[in-house]
Point group: C2
Chain length 329, copies 2
């Protein structure tokens, strides 16, 4: 199989954790190309290295960064996919620049109006809910949201093995008349959309429940939802840790609970699912969390490999063309 | 002081919990009028009763309900405020119909473009963050959001004693260029807005932190945020209870932690803050959570009284007129 191109320079913990994760994945049998400055990468272990002299930093303007830094690790990783030297790209760096590099170098899948970021939202004790668009398009048209529903359906099926993913449209009430003009129009279109098991409008409180598999919304609302949940969960978990450390008795009690709490903590950890996927570009592009650890990278590379092996791009092309959806292989 | 008009018929636990809460508040010294069917209210204790023969149900269309059910408890409660027989209204019923009754019977404050729902979002160990608009206006204009910032500032000051509330505009990045056309325009207007300590764009992850006092957004995004947090917190708390009940050892450990966990649980309970306030109407209108308990009602009546005593309506009028903001009394 083609190797996975990993942006060695992107992310809060780059290159250390990124290289460590890439090496682990390669040692476990997935071929990896580390893209970046060889001196920063250090010992690549069993990974190949693709030299790139520039870095698009987290604070760089995404569009300018992609245009000006033609020898950046992100742009070179996207080119490796375009040129058939890599099967997929993975980055924990600047999200906007990752999207920009993928879009400019790989291009869109024919028929896709706009790519969308699909992010798995953890649901304790159940499969995650796929949220899209989680931030690629701040302003959307109804027809784009219909494609997001089609692409999200394929992604939920291939990534999580859900045969008939239930798709909800995020709104502020279950009635088709609730929401803005965008939700009202999208609701009507989704009722007729091919390849989508549309369950109707859903509300924010439905996202982290087992009752839904895919939630479709515009990129502004999706990004706000994602970050609101991240912030809310972090606040609550920090408050819990505060309680656990509040006395010697509490510490001892927390120690007893820890073996049962850790699986829950792991499920809520954004590193667990390896990040988001940019759907609709003509290649597999995984966007990992900026704070990705080596573990997150191992998971992201695993997702990339899985998506290449299941021919995600071909399935997306068929889905937006309205071809009959295939069952999970 | 004028009594607080309480919609006895509104809410999932009406009239039982509503009447119980109203009686408790009245027994503690706040005059209350219970509005509804006397046979359903039963023994009003020290409360007055204002008869209303109809009920706008939770599933009723709000606009139709308000128009057609002229003798409903909600409409009669709003009229009591308009006619000077009550100082404020409180309802745990149909949110849309509560807004509609208040707007149609009390009217808007002169100069206010649109009323907004202000909801306190709990922040463990700190004062809550006031989120508005939490659902009154699905689609907004930039100038309305500026008024929400002005009204939210006054509300945070009067309700929580924050002298200079820090106001953020909810967006998908800190840069003024992030977000949709609405956020970009609102950002520029807020930089010049009178009576607003604007700290810039904020993201979803900032809402449940002590770094902010007021978050301004359109009613669609605000409602999605509110319900997403409610759902996420409930999911996480349920998962924790699952862990606590997972074995005899875990149960014993959870019992040890309970005294330290309960204050946290209380802080996150929507009942604690007594509900949301509809800002911009010419009277005090408290919108309690549909699942309100007697405790929630006691708190809501307390908030209503406080807001009447601090002349919330007069302060709102001054704020949107751009008059110099007053310090907390």
């Amino acid at each position: 199989m083609l190797p996975i191109a990993v942006d060695a320079m992107g992310g809060d913990n780059a290159p250390g954790e990124i290289v460590a994760g890439a090496r682990q994945a390669a040692e476990a049998g997935t071929p990896v190309i580390l893209v970046g400055r060889p001196d920063a990468i250090g010992d690549p272990g069993p990974c190949q290295v693709l030299e790139a002299s520039e870095v698009i930093e987290m604070h760089d303007d995404p569009a300018q960064g992609v245009r000006r830094k033609k020898d950046s690790s992100l742009v070179r990783a996207a080119e490796a996919v375009r040129d058939g030297r890599a099967g997929a790209m993975v980055s924990a760096g600047n999200t906007g620049a990752t999207m920009g590099s993928a879009l400019l170098r790989m291009g869109r899948i024919k028929g896709v109006s706009r790519p969308a970021i699909a992010t798995p939202i953890p649901v304790p004790g159940a499969l995650p809910t796929v949220l899209l668009d989680a931030g690629a398009n701040a302003e959307c048209q109804a027809s784009w949201l219909v494609q997001f529903a089609q692409m999200g359906t394929v992604f939920a099926r291939e990534r999580f093995g859900i045969e008939r993913p239930r798709v909800g449209l995020l709104s502020i009430g279950e009635e088709p008349t609730k929401g803005t003009a965008l939700e009202k129009e999208t609701h009507q279109l989704l009722r007729e959309a091919k390849g989508v098991d549309f369950v109707g409008n859903v509300e924010g409180r439905d996202i982290m429940t087992p009752d839904l598999d895919v939630v479709v919304t515009d990129g502004f609302t999706g990004n706000v939802v994602l970050k609101t949940l991240e912030g809310g969960m972090r606040t609550l978990i920090n408050a819990l840790f505060g309680v656990f450390a509040s006395s010697d008795e509490a510490k001892a009690a927390a120690d007893v609970l820890m073996p049962a709490l850790l699986p829950l903590y792991d499920q809520l950890d954004p590193d667990t699912y390896g990040g988001a996927v940019l759907l609709g570009v003509d290649g597999v592009c995984i966007i990992s969390h900026g704070s990705s650890s080596a573990k997150a990278l191992v998971n992201a590379i695993g997702v990339a490999r899985e998506m290449v092996e299941s021919d995600l791009v071909g399935l997306m092309r068929a889905a937006v063309a309205g071809e009959p959806s295939q069952a999970h292989k």
